[in-house]
Subunit: 322 residues, 2 copies
């Protein structure tokens, strides 16, 4: 079916009917605004992301269902990075001529399935025609108890630096796709269907463990750079301690320089956080999949201890859009 | 200056420095999320809009400062339509190659000036490259005391239908621009720099006057159609009662069919609302610039009483993006 047969309001009505009623939603899709009742005493967290065809994704590399899921996850990851609970999402779509309703339905189904995974609900949005690429704009609102909020700015000299999960899988998949190859399934999964670390972020924040936190979207060094700048400190990272994705470990045999993908590759959507020494035992007691990769130092700047033992100054190079 | 010289984070830092500290903002631009403290007992209102070059605007018809202002106003208008106070805005920008930093600075200055007009603050966003058109994504958060919320769904048979200000100016300017002509200054102002009726919306809501309300963005009949559908009622509108913009009144002399611009033209950003008979005296006491244009009836559907006296059924035709 063509979208012109269904119409803008027909499409919105289809989405509205697919969304279940959720707690706290006084008015959802279908009025001028969503109207929400937040838990008393919690802070509102809001983040917004643009995903633009041929900048953030290519339609020939992904399917629309996974693209819908990823649109949610990359946005929700920002809530996780502050220790929050994602609650409400807004979806803006700029739709190119000729995109079939079936493709849009698959996108929306993926979007809603990811919302459900995170316990969040789609409550509003905007749809219009795009004269060029497919445009996706997502805004997420979450909440966090005021005392449990974790910012980028709290790292102090002596804190340990930790990262969750593994690094480099998404960037390795992207490198393969750009070379016209088929990525390994694990890496492809990390690239096309990343998971925001919401439960981990909540657990860390509720236990009062991190002094600062950020998610790894631009790349480990770039995001650590943001955190160091906000905190006014420096860091030393141990390259040999980095938790590498299985596919990246395998690729290192033939291409040792691939380690750069773990340092600067981006889109891992893991949590990068700092822990004061006296709280490291609390972290160990949580038994969560995290790895100590370095420490915060007083002097500004970022140094990477290479496998050879040499300490090299690193620039926090990550993805810069311009 | 080229944006590539300033960089993504240089551009964001420029914006951050231009934004003043505002009440309720625990963390603004520069972390994973904005962190906000809302007034206790109020409901959160959120709306999001996309503005896409060559769909919603043309760069040769407007200047970037006014485009920044309009991006705020069309979004804030949705808060006004529910009786709320706009508080926090988020700006997503997809920036085409070659757009000068000076143009972006003008856009941001316009955006911030409109935020200030409405007492609202920019607290977050996302910037990236666009492979095609300039893309603007705006999200606004506002609040409203729970008892003063006005929805689309409360209109009842016997209620009077009112609209604020004047209609048709924006659509008349657009018609002139599409014909390659220069629009009249009043109409051009309505098109390029519309004002959201925030104070009026708040005054109406605080006084408990409207049974339902919506803003006129798609066109009077289209938006009234949305309101009627949400309320499960119909309406009769008196064409001769419509408050026409001065430029539209003048154009009617040569082109009587221009009345369609007031009925279906869109982008007036006036408030359209219904008032139960017993509250019309309260409205009169408020002494606000509003006009009674018709009444709500039990039977579904929308009829327009023409200047000739004939009642014709009207389809709620407005802007459909597909």
């Amino acid at each position: 079916m063509k979208l012109s047969e269904l119409g803008e309001f027909g499409f919105i009505e289809r989405i509205r009917q697919a969304v279940a009623k959720a707690p706290g939603v006084a008015v959802g899709i279908g009025d001028d605004c969503a109207v929400l009742e937040l838990p008393p005493g919690e802070r509102l967290l809001t983040s917004t992301d643009l995903l633009i065809e041929d900048v953030h994704f290519r339609r020939e590399w992904t399917d629309m269902g996974l693209l819908g899921r990823k649109s949610v996850s990359v946005n929700v990851s920002d809530i996780a990075a502050m220790g929050g609970t994602p609650r409400y999402l807004y979806l803006g779509l700029g739709i190119p001529d000729g995109l079939a309703v079936e493709e849009l339905d698959a996108f929306v189904a993926g979007f809603l399935s990811a919302c459900a995974d995170y316990g969040a609900t789609l409550v509003g949005g905007d749809t219009c025609r795009s004269p060029g690429p497919l445009l996706i704009s997502v805004t997420v609102e979450g909440t966090v108890p005021a005392a449990e909020l974790v910012c980028r700015s709290g790292a102090r000299p002596g804190d340990a630096v930790y990262v969750s999960g593994t690094l480099g899988g998404s960037a390795l998949a992207l490198r393969r796709l750009l070379a016209g190859e088929t990525p390994d399934a694990e890496a492809a999964g990390r690239h096309h269907d990343p998971r925001a670390r919401v439960e981990l972020g909540r657990a860390l924040a509720a236990a009062g463990i991190p002094s600062s936190m950020i998610d790894v979207s631009d790349g480990l060094l770039a995001d650590l750079g943001h955190l160091l700048e906000a905190s006014g400190v420096g860091a030393e990272i141990d390259e040999s301690a980095l938790p590498l994705s299985e596919a990246l470990q395998a690729s290192l045999i033939d291409a040792p320089n691939s380690i750069e993908l773990a340092l600067s590759g981006g889109e891992d959507y893991e949590l990068l956080f700092t822990v004061p020494p006296e709280r490291e035992s609390l972290l160990a007691a949580l038994a969560v999949p995290v790895t100590r990769i370095g420490r915060i130092v007083l002097a500004a700047g970022l140094a990477v201890k290479q496998r050879s033992g040499t300490l090299r100054p690193a620039s926090p190079a990550g993805y810069n859009h311009f």
